[in-house]
């Protein structure tokens, strides 16, 4: 496990290939040779893709960008685990020192009812943006704000808001859930804003609108298995789901007329 170890790995990769959302998909076998244990998982795929290109074959499409675990672009179900075996780690931050020579690695996209495959390992997660559009914001137009220190915020609340706000919107929670529920993602946004004084005026509206949109997108319901939190690279706690449920129920109780509007069809 030491840095600079001269260990090299030879691996067998079984990679999901699919030409488009409506095309059939299948696993293809590839070999990854002489993989340094200091490489990241995506660097290993870079090496594989460059080999494929040199052989005149079509490289495997996968999403990635920051490669620092913060943008939420990378995905991949690795040997059955969203973002691979290491807890609290995105695929781009997973390093090959966590694998052994000769390992067989299955690589699949984050599939779920509401995430369709775009191509190979790339999926469409735009449902998340639509949920945010429904209510994941504070309605403050530019230019309206008072002095930033005019309203002190209890440090405990602000730290708790931060813990929820670290969600990177990757969708691992959905991929990990047997019901493909987006509750951890939606709960994280609701909790972030609900824990701050600035988020109070729209708190009820937000919970109702975001939950309604989550249902409309076809995400499943939460049955409290906590698989989402275990797969979350930012280790967001299921507390946020409890908060979402509480806020939603309070809002419904206060405004029963909304219930009909927001129940899933």
């Amino acid at each position: 496990m030491e840095h600079g170890s001269k260990n090299k790995l030879n691996l067998k990769l079984k990679v999901w290939r699919q030409n488009g959302p409506k095309e059939p998909g299948h696993f293809m076998d590839y070999e990854a040779k002489d993989i340094s244990t200091d490489m990241s998982f995506l660097e290993m795929l870079d090496v594989m893709n460059n080999d494929l290109i040199r052989q005149g074959k079509t490289p495997v499409e996968f999403d990635h960008d920051c490669r620092e675990g913060i943008c939420g672009a990378c995905s991949l179900v690795i040997n059955g685990n969203p973002h691979g075996p290491q807890l609290g780690t995105t695929t781009c931050q997973l390093h090959m020192r966590h694998f052994k020579n000769g390992d067989v690695i299955y690589i699949e996209p984050f599939v779920a009812h509401s995430f369709s495959v775009v191509r190979d390992l790339v999926v469409d997660r735009s449902a998340f943006d639509r949920i945010q559009q429904a209510g994941g914001f504070i309605s403050a137009n530019t230019g309206n704000a008072q002095d930033a220190n005019a309203l002190p915020v209890n440090k405990t609340d602000s730290d708790a808001a931060f813990d929820a706000a670290t969600c990177i919107g990757c969708g691992a929670c959905v991929a990990a859930c047997k019901n493909a529920s987006a509750s951890l993602f939606v709960g994280a946004k609701i909790a972030h804003l609900a824990r701050l004084p600035q988020g109070q005026p729209e708190r009820d509206r937000r919970a109702l609108a975001m939950v309604a949109q989550m249902d409309a997108e076809g995400f499943g319901s939460c049955t409290n298995t906590s698989a989402c939190s275990a797969a979350c690279p930012k280790e967001i706690s299921v507390d946020v789901i409890a908060q979402m449920n509480r806020d939603y129920l309070c809002a419904v109780a206060k405004e029963p007329k909304h219930k009909a509007l927001t129940e899933s069809p």
Partner: protein
């Protein structure tokens, strides 16, 4: 100095310029705003804040990005913080001091009026972000907390643990999403702008590729706002996100927009060093770590003891030794160069010898591991994930890496480029940082441009221009689509022997070796001819796989590398013609006996803005924008 460039800096005392200008600018009345369509390319801090603010005013905004969601823009990765002149710590800060530090930090190569406006606006940014729910760090009293960054002797940096960019971007993204929900913004994700469409001399639209279907699309608007980020990835290895690129800016440059100060690139002193040739990017360890970490190398060359076994008397805390008043918090260019000098002397550490230590031992003694985790927890975790070493126990190994580009498309005080209607914001423009950007100032600038400058200046452009109706059937759109399609076909048909990545790495090596942390005339001339040769080879021998009709990352990269191969030459040319050292641009020929940068204000106190000339022997012509310093007097920077 005669010049075509008019910076349009308003008259009057510096403190009043922006206020006066806001009063003098023409307004679009509220009912008319909805008649204007504005194209905003990019959804990083600059683009998202601009799109949201323009939509709030009533304009119809079309927002484009290459990512699947606007929230993934490179800004998300910014770690350390954002500056503002609030003076909450009561330690002597003021708008004037932030202005002064930024001009000085930029080594006197920025425009005073722009920087002053930036400092003025900085406070409003913090207010607005807090209103949007950005969870900045707070003290137990509930008020906002601050820390220090390089090049400043006050604590003016606001932060959200090591994830400030993420929290600020999610704030701007939430405003953008709200406007999408309200129907004022139409979102076009996974679109890559590949050309600017100019009609009657004005920017009226863009041509882009739908990255999912491969379709070449045209979009028209009354103005184009470009916020597509910096070009640091020209070096292949940088701290930028993998998809960051220069294509949108470069396409505008080739349509007539002048490119300013391309050689002003920033090398960040504290990054995780390269570990092998497979390396795909470099990871930054935030500058904020220099608040508590101490940088050192062994006094003796080739001291192979493990760092814990090297006693204090055998350690050289070289930044504290050379710069006693700023110590570990000297500006980035200075810290980077000093690290390079130590490695060149043979005192580098780690397996490769190309690194120095950043040590938290003393801070941990003072604050405990918990205290350190509270401030930098996620950075320490990231370091451990990448290197497999625990930085609470052994010092981090760090080395400089390309991080930020101060250069970019030339803009006037209104953030408009030399093409009327094309406005450029954020890292994509050249405006406020001169030859070196201070830490925590890019987030400030991106949000200042997007939230508080463009909503005013764009309105004035629209109100004072005659803009005929154009549709995407106009010949300019058709020609642009044809050009873009032809270029894609050409790239796909070469089927040569080398991959796009191989060319990109090769270009990156030339850039790092000869146009990197220190430069000289001989190396720069060699770089120019090597890049020209590599570019020729590229257009004969690159192998781009697959088809244009589906998601094809290899094709996306191929277009970007083709543009980097052109920019590389201009970057080296700019470095060659700037015969002085300033900020991030260090010419070995121009240094003091103590190896500090030696500026030449008599001959080089100007912005170099390059015009692309096609068909000529040399592809670029230089225009100069003279710089005048009325407030911060030209002086040698000293951090001793």
């Amino acid at each position: 100095m005669a010049t075509k460039l008019d910076a349009k800096v308003p008259g009057g005392p510096i403190e009043e310029k922006w206020d006066n200008h806001r009063f003098d600018m023409k307004l679009v009345n509220p009912a008319n705003k909805r008649k204007f369509d504005i194209i905003v390319v990019g959804t990083g801090l600059a683009g998202a804040s601009a799109a949201a603010s323009l939509a709030e005013l009533g304009y119809n905004v079309k927002s484009f990005c290459i990512h699947d969601s606007p929230r993934r823009a490179h800004s998300i990765a910014a770690q350390g913080g954002i500056n503002a002149a609030k003076n909450y710590p009561n330690d002597g800060d003021s708008i004037y001091r932030l202005f002064y530090d930024t001009v000085k930090g930029g080594d006197f190569r920025s425009r005073e009026a722009n920087v002053y406006r930036l400092a003025q606006i900085s406070n409003h940014i913090i207010d607005h972000c807090v209103a949007l729910g950005v969870p900045f760090a707070r003290e137990y009293g509930g008020l906002l907390s601050n820390r220090s960054f390089g090049g400043a002797q006050v604590s003016r940096t606001f932060y959200a643990r090591g994830q400030t960019g993420q929290q600020l971007l999610l704030g701007a993204y939430s405003s953008l999403m709200r406007q999408v929900g309200l129907g004022k913004v139409r979102l076009y994700p996974r679109r890559e702008m590949l050309d600017l469409v100019v009609v009657d001399g004005k920017a009226r639209g863009i041509t882009c590729r739908n990255l999912i279907t491969g379709e070449i699309e045209s979009h028209e608007g009354h103005a184009v706002v470009l916020a597509t980020g910096g070009y640091g990835n020209i070096f292949f290895l940088s701290t930028n996100a993998k998809n960051s690129n220069v294509t949108a800016s470069w396409r505008c440059h080739k349509k007539g927009a002048l490119f300013a100060n391309p050689c002003f690139t920033q090398i960040h002193p504290t990054c995780i060093p390269v570990s092998g040739d497979y390396q795909s990017k470099l990871t930054l360890m935030s500058e904020s770590l220099r608040n508590d970490g101490r940088v050192w190398v062994p006094k003796q060359k080739g001291d192979k003891r493990s760092p814990q076994d090297i006693p204090n008397e055998d350690r050289d805390y070289y930044l504290e030794r050379i710069y006693p008043s700023f110590g570990n918090l000297v500006p980035r260019d200075v810290a980077s160069r000093q690290a390079k000098f130590r490695v060149d002397e043979g005192r580098g550490v780690g397996d490769t010898g190309v690194a120095v230590y950043l040590d938290f031992r003393d801070a941990i003694k003072r604050l405990g591991e918990e205290g350190i985790a509270e401030k930098y927890g996620n950075l320490f975790q990231m370091y451990e994930k990448i290197t497999g070493e625990n930085p609470y126990k052994v010092p981090m190994r760090i080395y400089p890496a390309v991080h930020y580009t101060m250069g970019g498309l030339w803009v006037d005080y209104n953030l408009m480029s030399t093409i009327p209607g094309l406005h450029v914001l954020g890292e994509a423009n050249f405006s406020d940082h001169g030859a070196n950007r201070l830490g925590a100032s890019a987030l400030m600038q991106g949000l200042a441009d997007g939230y508080f400058v463009i909503p005013y200046t764009l309105g004035s452009y629209l109100a004072s221009s005659k803009l005929e109706k154009v549709t995407t059937d106009h010949s300019a759109f058709k020609e642009s689509r044809a050009d873009v399609t032809a270029r894609i076909d050409k790239l796909l048909h070469m089927k040569g022997s080398r991959t796009v990545d191989e060319f990109h790495r090769h270009l990156g090596k030339i850039m790092w070796d000869k146009v990197g942390m220190s430069r000289n005339a001989k190396g720069l001339k060699e770089a120019i001819s090597e890049i020209q040769k590599l570019r020729e080879e590229y257009w004969q021998d690159v192998h781009v796989s697959g088809e244009p009709t589906y998601k094809n990352e290899d094709l996306e990269k191929a277009g970007r590398v083709a543009d980097f191969l052109e920019l590389g030459e201009l970057l080296a040319l700019d470095a060659l013609t700037r015969e002085e050292s300033c900020g991030g641009h260090f010419r070995e020929e121009y240094q003091t006996p103590e190896n500090e940068a030696k500026r030449d204000d008599e001959h080089f106190c100007f912005v170099s803005a390059w015009e692309h000339v096609s068909g000529a022997k040399s592809s670029w012509q230089l225009e100069k924008e003279p710089l005048e310093f009325e407030h911060v007097h030209l002086a040698t920077r000293s951090y001793k």
